[in-house]
């Protein structure tokens, strides 16, 4: 270790170091981005396998494959892994790779802290997944871990689950601080805020949400920890507490969290649609204001997850109105994307296929969200498969397709090769069909009366459950094709130019493909 600094002067840039230790010791945003993306996909496959267990059990009525206790662990871990291990890290990976390139910065603002943010994730998930093998089993109380099921009645491993969440929180908060400092401080001269690419804008706002709400999550799991281990009564009426207190604090985190999981996708789609429409994004300014409005509103709608807990009428009405209001800026964004396509000059390479599917299917998820916002109607929807359908529509063709679209869009920049377009399109169509088969019937199941988080169901739900399971198996298997496509692209393929997409704009397309290890050591001048 050098006496002065972690290394000698940065004037002579080497390429990356050799060997395994490169990845442990790196401070390079491209390396770290790559690690986040690989970690995220691994978690996606792990969480997906758990979904396969769930759908296998739900293939037919009756208990065939797993016992209810284990089923509850699968539903819980599927949710936790997908939310915290797949979707969030994927977006952070995209942020790491692309933000410095898009704003003309040499790296993130605090590169060492950046690497710490990444490596905390494998650590946290090692602890989380290890709970499955502890006595009493892993977390079995849903990814929303309501008290007192998770406190008084939880397995011994719950304490470890709580600390795993703490570690993830530290990772996210530091990552978000890094993103904000980078965006506010390291933009190339001439790049005012209103000239920033939309992906950068959405990440700036997402980072703000993360810093504001992850500490609240830390607060609620700490209260849980105290109730479990130190005899406090935050969530116990015997001592003057309230189980619903848990839900208020959790969802104060939980609602902004779901926007954290979608805003970066909004940003990426706002790049991809203009590129393949060969037309500027419609309404840049209103897109920025819309994201800001969504983020602000996201802080005052949390109790729409709690319409059946019995909050007083005034509260119920307020949260219903505020929730319905979010439809307005969200709608504005959808109209803007469609207006970008309208009278453009469209081609449908794989990124655009995923982007178009995103717009349609995320909007359908948004519609079911609007239905859920109507509080009295929600009495019939809440905790049924209608909700499961809603959030899978906004998360799968929403966040996940947004991530796929981004991956295909930027793979040439990352690897220097074009991916196999035929295989990409195949991955798209199989995912599209599988996903809709899996989740569209869930709307009907919920409306017909099927509750969530049950391992077995009444006979009238059998047919749609079977269809859903088949779709899920199809969707799951298809993701192995994506793995193949990515590996194939990394190893070789048609050489990609600096700007492989005719309609693309932005600083990232001015550097060669693959992007050199160090870029923009001298910031460019932006007009």
């Amino acid at each position: 270790m050098s006496a002065v600094a972690d290394t000698h002067s940065q004037e002579h840039h080497h390429g990356p170091a050799k060997g395994f230790s490169r990845w442990l010791l790196t401070t390079n945003h491209k390396d770290i981005g790559t690690m986040y993306l690989i970690f995220s996909f691994t978690m996606f496959l792990l969480g997906g396998s758990m979904a396969m267990v769930i759908r296998a059990e739900l293939f037919q009525p009756g208990l065939q494959i797993v016992q209810p206790e284990f089923f509850n662990q699968m539903t819980t871990m599927h949710g936790l892994i997908m939310v915290f291990g797949a979707v969030m890290p994927a977006f952070v990976g995209l942020a790491n790779w692309m933000i410095p390139l898009m704003i003309g910065a040499p790296d993130m603002a605090l590169p060492r802290m950046n690497n710490w943010s990444f490596w905390l994730l494998p650590c946290a998930f090692l602890i989380l997944v290890s709970t499955l093998f502890m006595q009493g089993g892993g977390p079995n109380f849903g990814w929303t871990f309501y008290a007192p099921l998770s406190t008084t009645y939880g397995p011994p491993s719950t304490t470890f689950f709580i600390f795993a969440i703490h570690i993830m929180g530290v990772s996210s908060i530091m990552g978000a601080i890094n993103v904000i400092a980078t965006i506010l401080n390291l933009r190339a001269p001439g790049m005012t805020l209103m000239k920033m690419p939309l992906f950068v804008w959405t990440w700036l706002i997402t980072a703000f949400l993360l810093i504001a709400v992850m500490p609240v999550l830390a607060g609620v799991v700490t209260m849980m920890l105290m109730d479990i281990n130190f005899g406090t009564s935050f969530f116990d009426a015997s001592g003057g507490g309230d189980p619903v207190l848990f839900q208020h604090v959790f969802w104060f985190f939980g609602h902004p969290e779901v926007y954290i999981m979608i805003l970066p996708a909004f940003g990426a789609i706002s790049h991809i649609v203009p590129t393949f429409s060969r037309k500027r994004l419609f309404g840049y300014a209103s897109m920025v204001y819309a994201v800001g409005a969504i983020a602000l509103l996201s802080f005052v709608v949390w109790a729409h997850h709690m319409f059946t807990v019995g909050i007083p009428l005034t509260g119920q009405l307020f949260f219903m109105y505020a929730t319905m209001l979010i439809a307005v800026p969200t709608g504005v964004k959808v109209f803007n994307w469609v207006s970008t396509m309208f009278r453009g000059s469209l081609t449908f390479e794989t990124p655009m296929l995923f982007a178009v599917a995103f717009i349609i299917l995320f909007t359908i998820g948004g519609f079911s969200g609007l239905m859920l916002a109507i509080a009295p109607a929600d009495f019939q929807y809440h905790d049924t498969y209608f909700v499961v359908a809603h959030f899978h529509y906004v998360l799968v063709p929403g966040a996940i397709f947004g991530i796929f679209a981004s991956a295909y869009y930027w793979l040439p920049k990352w690897t220097g090769h074009m991916y196999d377009e035929t295989l990409g399109k195949t991955h798209f169509w199989l995912s599209f069909i599988g996903m809709n088969l899996a989740f569209f019937p869930m709307h009907f199941l919920g409306l017909a009366g099927m509750p969530r988080r049950i391992p077995d169901y009444a006979l009238q739900f059998a047919d749609f459950n079977m269809v859903s399971s088949i779709g899920a198996f199809m969707f799951g298997a298809t993701q192995l094709l994506f793995l193949f496509i990515v590996v194939k692209c990394v190893k070789g393929g048609e050489k990609a130019p600096a700007k492989p997409w005719e309609g693309a704009e932005g600083l990232e397309w001015t550097v060669p493909s693959p992007a050199p290890y160090h870029t923009f050591s001298t910031p460019p001048e932006v007009k």
């Binding site: 006496a3 590169p111 802290m113 650590c123 600390f163 009426a237 015997s238 309230d242 007083p312």
Partner: protein, 295 residues
């Protein structure tokens, strides 16, 4: 074209992975202590694990901050880098504010809604039928189920130790500001004096808080298990105390750095960051004083 210093990007570093291992081992150790303890099993191994983790973390803190200090003093940091640190520290403090907000929020919800409901008032007042004889009030000394959660005999009034502690902390915010101005003026003796005073005030605060906790536990029967009053009281004051401890450590390190000749009148961000943190700790205390002790 102005030749601005380029933005420093460190090449490779072991500190992130050391920190990961350290934090993982520490927290896994803490979890093990709790789980094994609760099940009546031996916690020795867990304590060892925790201590090893804590040592790794201490090693990491010295090493990582040490690198940053060395790089800074070697002139590697541009003004832009300085701004990155300022943004970073500001947003970090914001995240800490939100952490406390969760607990203040819990206190608000319990006092305004939960306890009155359990006592029979308001929209969910019918809940009182489950808790015969329970009367709402704050501080809550008689819980709905006194067998499960025997309430405290007494609570801590605001005008004794808490008032002294308020005076100590507010004064310490003042003293650290004087120290800062002295640093900007280049008067190093004055800095040491006023920073030293700040640290002493901080340590006295901590001592008095510990004393108050001992008094609560031993004499007043006011514990974490005393029901929701005890729960919120100790969570808020406890986490505040932990942050005072952290802040004190930061101030002590700044003091040692001043001794070693670090910092100039124009460049002393480490000091400023510590001072900001100290003011944050003070503001949280004022919130506590009003909403936990007085009202």
């Amino acid at each position: 074209m102005a030749q601005e210093q380029s933005y420093y990007v460190p090449d490779q570093s072991k500190w992130p992975i050391v920190a990961t291992v350290g934090l993982g081992v520490t927290l896994y150790g803490v979890a093990s202590i709790m789980v094994n303890g609760k099940q009546g099993e031996s916690t020795t191994g867990s304590w060892v694990m925790f201590l090893i983790g804590a040592l790794i973390m201490a090693y990491m803190l010295f090493g990582w901050f040490g690198s940053v200090i060395r790089e800074s003093r070697a002139g590697l940091y541009s003004d832009q880098m300085d701004r990155s640190f300022r943004w970073g520290m500001s947003w970090f403090i914001f995240s800490e504010v939100m952490f406390f907000a969760a607990f203040f929020g819990a206190l608000f919800y319990v006092r305004v809604f939960v306890v009155p409901w359990l006592g029979g008032e308001g929209d969910k007042g019918s809940s009182n039928m489950l808790w015969e004889g329970f009367q709402a009030g704050w501080p809550l000394v008689n819980n709905p189920n006194p067998e499960a959660y025997p309430g405290p005999n007494e609570v801590i009034g605001p005008w004794g130790l808490p008032l002294i502690n308020t005076i100590l902390l507010v004064t310490s915010s003042f003293t650290v500001t004087v120290a800062h101005h002295a640093l900007k003026a280049g008067n190093r003796q004055k800095v040491k004096l006023w920073l030293g005073a700040t640290i002493i005030l901080a340590l006295v605060f901590l001592t008095l808080q510990i004393q108050e906790y001992v008094h609560a536990y031993q004499d007043l029967d006011l514990t974490l298990q005393s029901g929701i009053y005890g729960s919120t009281f100790f969570m808020l004051t406890g986490f505040h105390g932990a942050h005072v401890l952290l802040g004190s450590l930061m101030l002590i390190i700044m003091f040692l750095r001043i001794q070693k000749g670090h910092f100039t009148a124009d460049s002393h961000f480490g000091f400023e960051a510590s001072a900001w943190y100290w003011h944050f700790v003070d503001v949280v205390w004022l919130g506590l004083f009003v909403f936990v002790y007085i009202i």
